[in-house]
Symmetry: D2
Subunit: 330 residues, 4 copies
């Protein structure tokens, strides 16, 4: 049984790790930290977990967590993980859900100063089999997960000049703290474009697609009136006359060994609560455009589920362990 620690258990990614790990047959959460909620029952904060956890939030430092565990998930804000990893990574495997270790040299240009030069494996298992040997895994951002998976096969083949990723996300990606954007009267019956040309997740998409081939990347995110899910409409401008069927075959081959990639009518409903990334492809016969649509659950494949998938790979388990359940489509 893998002993799991979660540092930062009061927010949405922590809550979602706890929810998913209930179903994991090979892992057990032994410690969850929160400075503000020290001593409070986890189930009194995350009330849907009532009956599933008797744990209380602990206010302990990283080393103490490391002493009790085999793997630690960091569910902390950007900038905080880099202060914890040095105390953890020699003792336990670490999966960081923040942005701190996702970008190499680019990090400081996008997020600001970084204090730990250590490298991590980018935890998108479909593209990075070396996750299996990682001690420090940088769990991808939610938007990059859906965007990269939509474009990777064609970029790798060198068939795309430019991509416009137009993403639509549920609001849970913004976290548990109420904000102007998450205020119901502002979001309901609306759609909000934000960071229209300069969202920080773009750097991850550029980095990961850049590893595969040469492509110009444009990215614009929106928030829709939905709690969970990201639908990314990837408009790929091709440099070749390849037809629709060839493209489908190319994608199927690329993802042949990836159980969480499905070719399915893309709908947030079909992935809700799950670790799937559903893809569909449609060739625009009038132009040089291919439209690839990906649907993920931003809290699962876009965060905590993918973190558990990474844990599975890092511990030699089947990557679907504890994650193989159907969506709450209604």
């Amino acid at each position: 049984m893998i002993r799991v620690g979660i540092i930062g258990g009061s927010g949405y990614t922590g809550s979602e790790l706890l929810r998913l790990l209930v179903q994991h047959p090979e892992a057990e959460v032994v410690v969850v930290t929160s400075r503000a909620l020290e001593g409070v029952l986890v189930a009194d904060v995350h009330r849907h977990l009532k009956g599933f956890y008797n744990l209380r939030f602990a206010n302990v430092d990283a080393k103490t967590v490391a002493n009790q565990t085999d793997v630690v998930f960091l569910a902390v804000p950007h900038g905080a993980a880099m202060g914890l990893v040095p105390d953890l990574v020699d003792a336990v495997k670490v999966i960081d859900l923040s942005a701190d270790y996702r970008l190499g040299a680019e990090y400081e240009a996008v997020y600001g100063p970084h204090t730990d030069p250590r490298e991590a494996v980018y935890g998108l298992p479909e593209l990075h089999p070396e996750v299996a040997h990682a001690r420090l895994c940088a769990n991808p951002g939610c938007y990059p997960t859906g965007a990269i998976l939509a474009a990777a096969p064609l970029v790798k083949e060198g068939l795309v000049d430019e991509v416009i990723f137009d993403s639509k996300s549920g609001i849970s990606g913004a976290g548990a703290a109420p904000t102007e954007t998450s205020h119901y009267p502002n979001l309901a019956e609306n759609i909000i474009a934000y960071q229209v040309t300069q969202h920080r997740h773009k750097a991850e998409i550029v980095q990961e697609l850049g590893r595969l081939g040469r492509v110009a990347v444009n990215f614009t995110p929106h928030v829709i009136p939905s709690i969970r899910g990201i639908l990314t409409t990837a408009h790929l401008l091709l440099n070749t006359m390849i037809d629709g069927e060839e493209i489908v075959s190319l994608y199927e081959t690329f993802y042949a060994k990836c159980p969480f990639i499905r070719f399915n009518v893309p709908s947030l409903k079909s992935v809700r609560g799950t670790n799937f990334c559903d893809l569909s492809l449609e060739r625009d016969n009038a132009t040089r455009r291919l439209v690839v649509i990906s649907a993920i659950d931003n809290m699962v494949k876009g965060a905590s589920g993918q973190a558990i998938q990474n844990m599975n790979v890092m511990f030699g388990l089947d990557q679907t362990t504890g994650l193989w359940s159907p969506a709450l489509s209604l």
Copy 2:
């Protein structure tokens, strides 16, 4: 032309007053105050008003507002109005949208200390024709408006022993500031009961129905995933065998001169953006129960629209002036 001042123009009731007064042929907003937003264009805060107002928020005291105006709307938090009214009421007519002057002696038991013993007219024009002579009008709460109008005719006839008001409100009643309850992931796909037996609006309902007759009052509010609107399901336990048709006739007579009361299939859609209170009646033939359902827009008939209706009455205008427009039912 009635010169209008609004004290506290940054919140929802202030915003709604501004929206509605655009259409009023006999009134013009000449000053809107906000301490925090001094000097900012009203249309840069309430962006839907772009093109309709060139006003900037002013940071001026009540007396300065009184000097420029014929009527002042107080769109301030509970407890703040009582500090402003003494500086206004000798110079201008005042319509207070807060709770400060709604309850007489009961106020302190419900809300806490009161510093101004002055009396006001309770501004529910359907029940209080003396609004016409008021200098200080206490605009009713949103829940009481829908609840009182649903039960008044039968209570006045002495036919009701007890009422259970089960109300379902849109979230805008909670104001413009983001909170846990208004956080989209908490409210969407949910319904939240709150202050289940002790909501402060109950005192208004008790007071106003008590003026009409003797009746036991129970009140439980809920918030639903809707921006606007309150549907109140009033379960009236009758002390008599009166049949459905007689009751309908009794209601029609009671509200014969009330243009904003409609007998209509109750739906938040049919009243959205308007000052109507739609009512429907259904007699439970198996029990002693009558179900009266009222639908209002909490921001209009439940707040700013009713305030303008009161202004109309106080200035001798037809009460529908500037308020006679159909709902945005889609």
Copy 3:
């Protein structure tokens, strides 16, 4: 391994049975019928099940289903089950999700002619331990489940004169076929009261509470803009001065052996996708009223989950088998 047949697999209750049974360690779906979808892959209709089922819809009669199975779930419209049960019940255990066997002699007054006089056990396991010995189990309606569980302990003690059940349901209870009520522009930002005094589910509530004690029952349902979930606000008018703590203790004792009953802040989120019924209690100190609020997922505890709970009891399994997972609270 229990071999499961589902008759009527194209609708919401069938879909939900399929979703839940994926996780059941002791049961396997071997046949799913649909006349209209014969030969179509289940996962091409219920696209969230892609990867979980290779079954195709079969167009076979009840006897053929019985031959392959140990238990059959009837997920068919009211009136259809009574034509199937006689062909099933001698060969297999039957759990009927329709209304056909819920009411005894009362059935015809509420629903119309009945062709099969056979009796069934009312499948609310918290009140009916005799489910364990049933061959034919009548799975309760969604509203009755939440309403009965909210009031049962006090009714049994004879402490309640009258109850007003004011229920608010997600729209999935109305099924998979588009209707005026389920049309997004009609339901979003709205709440709809319907069958205000005469909903057919009232007969079940009357029957089941009547088995426990004497009480007058009023019931009014509403549809809210939510896919899943029912919140029932039960206003119990007591005939005694019992205080809040005593009542809590009485409820805790009554439900001591019921793993799916939780005392929890009632929220549709905390039960979403699960078989829990969350309850909260609040005594109105100003009146004789007790407010009990119950929250269930109408598709799970209100339909397919409870059906599986009944199956577990009927086959001697722990009643939580395959159902013990936390809610998708976001």
Copy 4:
């Protein structure tokens, strides 16, 4: 007073014409037709209009409508208008809200056979001042309105090579009849891409932008969980290094005389219920992309409001007459 006839008054565009015309000081609806609803009170179908219309739906032919009116709005399905226009256009001015006269020679390739070769003026008044002299006005589609207005100024200058229009619409554009897509459980908490490369509205965008300059057009629509509104994210790939400020100035000049074009933070809320098209511009400094976002109310500027704007222009009125009201932003 302009006498108005509406042919096809039972659907959403008819309902919206009725709602808006209540506020029009120079026009009066004298006849509304519906075959299915003959004799029924308009306000018994469109219940939010109760108190505003005493009209009943008439079942009369086009010539009879023409005899009583000065202008006729056709709110009928595509394909039906071409059978009515020949009977109307010699007697009255006609504004067709269907697609029948929007496309010239292209029509048959997109929609099928056309029986009336007559030409109409494309009723986008911001680009077509000749609407003033039209007898037959083809009111634009909802998507084309938002898309064309977002790109026109730069296309006219020849500065754009290619545009990707990624549009997100409320569901009311699909009409009043319940469908799979409008079924609440399918749309809520979801976003649906449809007709991903081949939506029929693309032909209008191509036609209208083609009149202004040379540009490749890509268009993908989505439906979001919203009743009203379309947000179009127009990704313009520029062929020049023009900076952001120059572009803003170019747009401001282009739309200087257009009262319904506002430069405003784009939000469906700020235009809800109104005839505005709000625009915002953001230059992507890392690429050759300009992002223009337009927000309209699909039922108003995208349909019935624009039709009234066209009527105003055709009758020599100020184009804002009866349309100058602020949005229901909450």
